[in-house]
Symmetry: C2
Subunit: 213 residues, 2 copies
């Protein structure tokens, strides 16, 4: 059907990706409103008309950007915790390994974590329509469900030593990650984010195993 030109299609998809790349870093550095279409097309090397060929308006760019970001995060989490589970079949130990891998990954980013789009969008919510805001919300709720399922599995084998709401403990990861990114960026110290993730790790360990180390 339609079929048409494969090489052209690849080229188009590539340009679109490069627009999203340029947009992502710009948005994380100065926000969506201050990210001009002109700078994006200059970075990619196309004209303004070219931009509007790929996105009907700036809002469509915002949506596509967030969708791609959330998908990539999901893949990263899937991958990382699957690897951790391969290393240890015990749910608690696997989770602790996963958190350590995450902290190491953050620590290895040479320029520090570039930022979280969810947090960026959150502080500019009125710029976006309902679609995008709901997308953001669903993204966070998916993180909650993911961590909650890990924690449920852990709690089944290790009854919590402390009285905590597991949804809150699940959210705590996201909160510490987003908060840690903000602190790391503003004090300009790459080590803050991995430090916070490792603190989450010791919290989870003490909640379920009650022991240090």
């Amino acid at each position: 059907m339609g079929a048409a030109n494969e090489a052209e299609r690849r080229k188009g998809a590539d340009t679109r990706e490069r627009l999203l790349d340029a947009a992502e870093s710009a948005v994380l550095e100065k926000g969506f409103a201050a990210t001009s279409i002109e700078e994006l097309i200059a970075a990619v090397g196309i004209t303004k008309s070219g931009f509007f060929y790929h996105f009907p308006d700036k809002g469509a760019l915002a949506k596509a950007l967030l969708e791609r970001y959330l998908e990539r995060e999901e893949e990263l989490f899937d991958d990382l915790f699957a690897r951790a589970r391969d290393l240890d079949d015990d749910p608690l130990h696997a989770f602790l390994i996963g958190l350590k891998l995450m902290a190491e990954m953050m620590s290895d980013l040479p320029a520090g974590h570039p930022g979280c789009l969810v947090a960026s969008y959150c502080y500019q919510e009125n710029l976006f329509n309902r679609d995008v805001r709901d997308l953001n919300r669903e993204g966070v709720l998916r993180w909650r469900r993911r961590f909650r399922s890990y924690l449920d599995e852990i709690a089944a084998r290790y009854p919590p030593k402390v009285d905590v709401d597991l949804d809150a403990v699940a959210d705590m990861f996201s909160a510490l990650a987003d908060g840690g990114i903000i602190l790391a960026k503003t004090v300009r110290d790459r080590d803050v984010l991995p430090g916070q993730l490792m603190l989450y790790r010791t919290f989870v360990r003490t909640v379920f195993s009650g022991t240090d180390r």
Copy 2:
């Protein structure tokens, strides 16, 4: 010297405060770049000339806004932890009371927490000059020093049961607060932020007293 009109001066200071009020809520809702001078003067009921009488340019508004915000936060923390200390002279118990007061205060905000300017500015850092970025950094470092001093006092009486970096535990409050605000805003659930603060409280309790309740 100069002395001059007292009533006029009060009126001018009042208009300036109202400009800052309008700017603060607007910035937290859609970011600094998307906050137009025109909407601020419309909200306050003055003309554009009036705005530029109070601030030489938009950058000066950004700086004044952040300065006021940081001062108010400082006062709030001073006040709240002083009250907590009045209720219990033990540093650990006082700190735990302070955290509970904080959580209750956040819980009582009818529309949820309006947002943290530090976080908002962090995700728009390239819009601001060095002055403002350094101000933001100093603000966060002041929070760290404050909580670190509480924790040092606690650690002197209650040796930590878990091996943790006290600077990281101090930062953890800020990270959970900022992260909690983001989660609460994006999932649109006021209870998330107080929940995270209470989790920080149980973490601190288990680190220093090692017991649940």
